[in-house]
Symmetry: C2
Subunit: 111 residues, 2 copies
């Protein structure tokens, strides 16, 4: 099991998290992870309507911003939200974004 | 008093709001407005360390995303947060972002 590079909790930057969440596809991935817990990238990206390489770019953006943890195990990559880290760093932020995304799905998620 | 174009409350998109907030300078402008209420662009942009044209671009981004209202009165432009509209559309979001920005100022605001 290989852990890819991630920012430490105290190095997670608010603007980077907001930027990572400011995309309909990434927001949908985060919403799925909030329900499912851990998923493989393959499952998380299912039916997103984006190419595999685009999905990989989104996972990387989310990981580098500190929103998700990615662990590689053989050919599979498992991802999950860094919910505790985000709640520690920015209390209430993830919940309010997830509630907002649920109440008013972005254009890409509605399509 | 001239009101520049703004999205209607129901047309404010979560991803656009997150994108508008995902910048240290714009986050600082929003934090100032949250304290001051209404400000002229000149006052809001004071000491931000960006050129006037860059500040104008930031105000426009915030306005088009539905984060602020801009009103032109002669040579002055007054701006304020659309706090009620944002709270209606995405409950808790603005407060959690402002708290997070206050607790962990972005790199630009620390400089």
């Amino acid at each position: 099991m290989r852990l890819l590079p991630h920012p430490a909790t105290e190095d997670i930057e608010l603007t980077e998290v907001l930027r990572a969440l400011a995309d309909p596809v990434r927001l949908e991935i985060v919403a799925r992870l909030s329900v499912a817990g851990e998923m493989t990238c393959t499952d998380a990206g299912d039916d997103l309507g984006v190419h595999k390489s685009t999905a990989s770019h989104h996972y990387r953006t989310l990981r580098e911003a500190g929103v998700i943890v990615s662990k590689q195990a053989g050919r599979l990559v498992y991802i999950r939200l860094r919910r505790d880290d985000l709640d520690t760093r920015f209390p209430g932020l993830l919940d309010s974004v997830l509630s907002a995304a649920h109440a008013a799905p972005a254009a890409a998620a509605r399509a």
